[in-house]
């Protein structure tokens, strides 16, 4: 057991997977010599060589698109989008091509590709670096969307992603890269997709969240507990596949639910969660379901991003409102 930051856990998992399977190759902008702008691939080019850790030209679409050909040729590409915001330049390759290759060829060609992308705000980056775009990719139909919030989960979920026969978008909350650290077993392990993590057992209300919003919810929980409220808290870990049964059980337990995420509200993944609960947990509900999200406005300049991202105060307020009978 070693205490690792999230970015360290990601790096060590990449290293372990490259040692385990020589078909695994890394590619992306600045992933080689520099070791990635966040050092997620630091030292890997030195260890595995330029053939397996490749600095690409600055062109997101051909990074994603060439991964299709690399995969069909028999390799297992793991490519980095330097920031999720820039993945829009490769959106058609990710959602039309990578995600649909298995379906459109009836399984004759497949894309065991992992796409790593940091995202999320509150790190004072310039425009377009911070957007949480997971709902756009959740409609990628054929693409799994994995969103760890701890170093432990990052290791187990990334190992699962690289070994998955299907493409996986692995989203890394960049504020958590160094702020989040926890105990990570040194031995190999994987975490099955579609199994949510119960962060805290409680009886009064269920809070559903994932990835970058997990630390915000943790802060809110401290406040709520101090007020004598006992929340049940779950981290979805993966939004595709979604742990429908786990989600329904978590909400049936309390009859109340607040969903917290960093992307805008309209057609955000919280809307999917709430619809599912309406369909499958309706008769256990004791109060309207509620969302705490960013507004339906573009991600702002960093000077005001603190007002954009859901705060723990807003989570506490939403919980209080949901608890009123």
């Amino acid at each position: 057991m070693t205490t690792l930051t999230m970015v360290e856990a990601i790096r060590e998992t990449l290293r372990a997977e490259m040692l385990r399977d020589e078909r695994v190759i890394l590619m992306g902008e600045d992933v080689g010599h520099l070791g990635g702008v966040f050092r997620a691939t630091d030292g890997l080019r030195q260890q595995f060589g330029a053939q397996r850790v490749f600095d690409t030209p600055l062109a997101e679409s051909v990074i994603a698109g060439s991964a299709v050909g690399l995969a069909i040729s028999g390799l297992i590409p793991v490519f980095e989008m330097q920031f999720l915001g820039f993945s829009q330049n490769a959106f058609h390759q990710i959602c039309q091509q990578i995600a649909r290759t298995r379906f459109r060829t009836r399984g004759s060609h497949t894309c065991p590709i992992t796409i790593r992308a940091p995202f999320g705000g509150n790190v004072r980056t310039p425009e377009l670096h911070s957007d949480s775009m997971e709902p756009q990719y959740a409609q990628g139909t054929g693409l799994k969307v994995v969103m760890p919030s701890t170093a432990y989960d990052a290791k187990g979920l990334l190992a699962s992603a690289i070994r998955d026969p299907d493409p996986v978008l692995f989203l890394e909350p960049l504020r958590g890269y160094r702020l989040v650290s926890d105990d990570v077993p040194d031995d190999d392990y994987t975490i099955e997709f579609g199994k949510l993590r119960v962060m805290r057992e409680g009886d009064d209300i269920t809070i559903v969240t994932w990835s970058a919003s997990v630390p915000v919810v943790e802060q809110a929980v401290e406040q709520l507990v101090a007020e004598g409220i006992n929340p049940h808290v779950v981290d979805l870990r993966t939004i595709v596949p979604l742990d429908e049964a786990g989600l329904v059980a978590a909400v049936e337990k309390t009859g109340r639910c607040v969903v917290v995420h960093e992307s805008p509200a309209a057609a955000g993944f919280g809307a999917e969660v709430i619809t599912l609960l309406q369909e499958q947990a309706f008769y256990s509900l004791q109060a309207p379901l509620k969302r705490v999200t960013a507004p339906d406005a573009p991600y702002p300049p960093p000077g005001i991003e603190g007002h954009y991202i859901p705060s723990s105060e807003l989570v506490v307020r939403a919980v209080r409102e949901t608890l009123i009978d």
Binding site: G65, A71, I72, L242
Partner: protein, 361 residues
């Protein structure tokens, strides 16, 4: 004031003359030598005739509502077949756009698969094991990065295969084309960019597509050579592709080949070219037919005759019919096909949706 700066890199004032070997009347030009044997020319001719006969039949079936919208290849047979003939189907990949039926057939892809694809049957997307082709691509130019990736993957795994990406003059305006050329140049990837300049992107003519004098002239900007060929000349296309394949296999990197050809039929079965095509230009291109000139060439050496033409037309019609018969044996797909091959193992969400859907039937 000093004299104005003179740019070091200037656009060419006019297009270069495309490389040609076989004239429209089927005669080798000047001192040109045939780059392929008569046996190879007959193999190519058969594929060209099959491709044209198949698309002609499909066009009429589309009008009867029996197949969906598709893009016919008429006029581009030499570009498609001449390039495919330069490949080794055992090691080399064909990465098509959507008009390249005979290139897929030469790789060993079954014609009935293409029929199923055009009928809208999901199994039409299936690629039999070991056949080195990608599925047709509807997103223009999106297949070009895939071809680069295949070439790169073969290079990394020390295989001596090459890949050929087919696309058109319209697609050469897409970002994926430029990003692909740029990466392939850096990698020295064994890929051939086979640009079929058929002069039209639906209704948009070549001159609106780009101010470049030649589309092949872009290649040096990416650090590799470009070749301009007469795309209706089977021999010229074959020779250019064979040389590009040799370069690629030798580790010397990509080549961009611009085949000057003409889309003699509509863009697709849904298009009405009478609204925009210049009849005179179309007639002029009609005199440069790619199939006719190979038949004339082969007739000169006694390898082609009217009798042979009749016999082949009948054989080809039979071959197409038997492919349609084989396609008809594939059972129709039902709603369960919606849920297959989304993932290797369906998610619980998909299983729930599938169960609900099938119960409703």
């Amino acid at each position: 004031m000093s004299d104005a700066l003179s740019p070091q890199f200037k656009p060419a004032a006019k297009s270069v003359a495309p490389h040609k070997l076989l004239g429209p009347k089927g005669k080798l030009l000047g001192t040109a030598k045939a780059p392929m044997t008569d046996a190879q020319a007959l193999e190519a001719l058969r594929l060209m005739m099959l491709g044209r006969a198949f698309d002609t039949k499909c066009f009429s079936l589309q009008r009867q509502g029996k197949i969906g919208t598709f893009a016919p290849l008429h006029g581009q047979e030499a570009s498609i077949v001449g390039s495919a003939m330069a490949l080794n189907p055992e090691s080399d990949w064909v990465v098509p756009q959507y008009r390249e039926t005979p290139a897929l057939l030469r790789q060993g892809y079954p014609l009935e698969q293409i029929i199923l694809y055009r009928q809208g049957h999901p199994h039409g997307g299936f690629v039999p094991d070991g056949i080195k082709v990608l599925q047709f691509q509807i997103s223009l130019a999106a297949q070009i990065p895939h071809a680069v990736g295949l070439a790169w993957g073969m290079q990394l795994q020390q295989q001596d295969g090459v890949s050929v990406a087919y696309f058109g003059d319209g697609s050469s305006s897409e970002g994926d084309f430029h990003e692909s050329c740029n990466l392939a140049g850096v990698l020295k990837a064994p890929v051939i960019f086979l640009l079929q300049n058929n002069q039209w992107a639906i209704s948009t003519p070549r001159e609106i597509q780009s101010a470049a004098s030649d589309l092949a002239a872009r290649a040096p900007g990416y650090g590799f050579p470009g070749i301009s060929v007469d795309g209706n000349d089977l021999f010229a296309v074959y020779q250019a592709t064979a040389e590009a394949v040799t370069r690629a296999r030798a580790g010397k990197g990509p080549t961009l080949i611009e085949c000057h050809t003409y889309r003699m039929w509509a863009h697709t079965t849904a298009d009405d070219p009478s609204r925009y095509v210049d009849e005179k230009e179309e007639k002029r291109w009609g005199t440069r037919d790619p199939i006719d000139r190979v038949q004339r060439y082969l007739a000169d050496s006694g390898n082609w005759s009217d009798d042979k033409a009749k016999a082949w037309e009948a054989e080809i019609a039979d071959e197409i019919q038997s492919a349609f018969d084989n396609a008809a044996k594939v059972p129709p797909a039902g709603p369960e096909a919606l849920y297959e091959h989304v993932f290797e193992t369906p998610t619980s969400t998909l299983n729930r949706q599938r169960a609900a859907h099938l119960q409703e039937q």
